[in-house]
């Protein structure tokens, strides 16, 4: 496994961990599901630190290699970035449309059905950011595994 592939795995783990932490801290555990939030949090906390330790080890052991990244890594990264960029563009356009609709809600009164709070739109954008990052790394791992 190349250094860039290992870093893709660790980055995916940290992105997913951050997304889970963000969701748990802001929205809490869903009421309909038995409360496993403690063990859930602990699992992703451990996953996050394992990913950080692996990144440090890889950086130390592979840091003196002559070639860290080559044309194949750049092409694979570009494919991941393209998909992540599309996700972010869709999220930003969706947020802008929602802000416009919410402003209509202020004009027509609070009973407007599609009205959303600004904080909800903010959470949506942050989650889209984590989702974009996780998707980018997933696409990269797919191409590395496919032996592109």
């Amino acid at each position: 496994m190349s250094k860039q592939e290992i870093l893709s795995w660790t980055s995916l783990a940290t992105s997913v961990s951050f997304m889970i932490f963000y969701l748990l801290f802001n929205f809490g555990w869903p009421d309909a599901v038995p409360d496993y939030s403690g063990s859930f949090f602990k699992t992703f906390f451990n996953l996050f630190w394992i990913a950080v330790v692996i990144e440090i080890i890889v950086e130390i052991s592979e840091g003196n290699r002559k070639v860290q990244k080559d044309e194949r890594d750049f092409i694979i990264e570009a494919r991941g970035i393209k998909v992540a960029y599309n996700i972010l563009v869709i999220a930003v356009v969706g947020a802008l449309v929602q802000i416009f609709i919410s402003n209509l809600g202020y004009t027509f009164g609070s009973d407007f059905p599609l009205h959303l709070e600004m904080s909800t739109i903010f959470h949506f954008l942050i989650i889209a950011l984590f989702l974009g990052s996780a998707t980018r790394r997933s696409i990269m791992i797919y191409h590395y595994r496919k032996d592109f």
Partner: protein, 72 residues
């Protein structure tokens, strides 16, 4: 024109050059070992520049190292 694959003689040439390892070739042309492995297995088509570098490493013309093969 039908799509084909870029076949190569890298594995043979490596062994003819004192059983050169993938890592040694990778260091010589400035890529990772995994990229050489992917090129050898015809799963990744190198850039023209990299193809020339690999051919130069073996002192061969590029046409002897890489060949474009179609079913037709």
């Amino acid at each position: 024109m039908e799509d084909g694959i870029i076949a190569n003689q890298i594995r043979t040439l490596r062994f003819n050059h004192g059983e050169m390892t993938q890592q040694e070739l990778a260091d010589l042309v400035g890529v990772t070992r995994q990229t050489i492995n992917a090129i050898e297995a015809a799963k990744y088509s190198p850039s023209l520049e990299l193809a020339f570098k690999i051919a130069t490493a073996f002192n061969k013309p590029i046409g002897e190292v890489f060949k474009y093969k179609t079913d037709a």
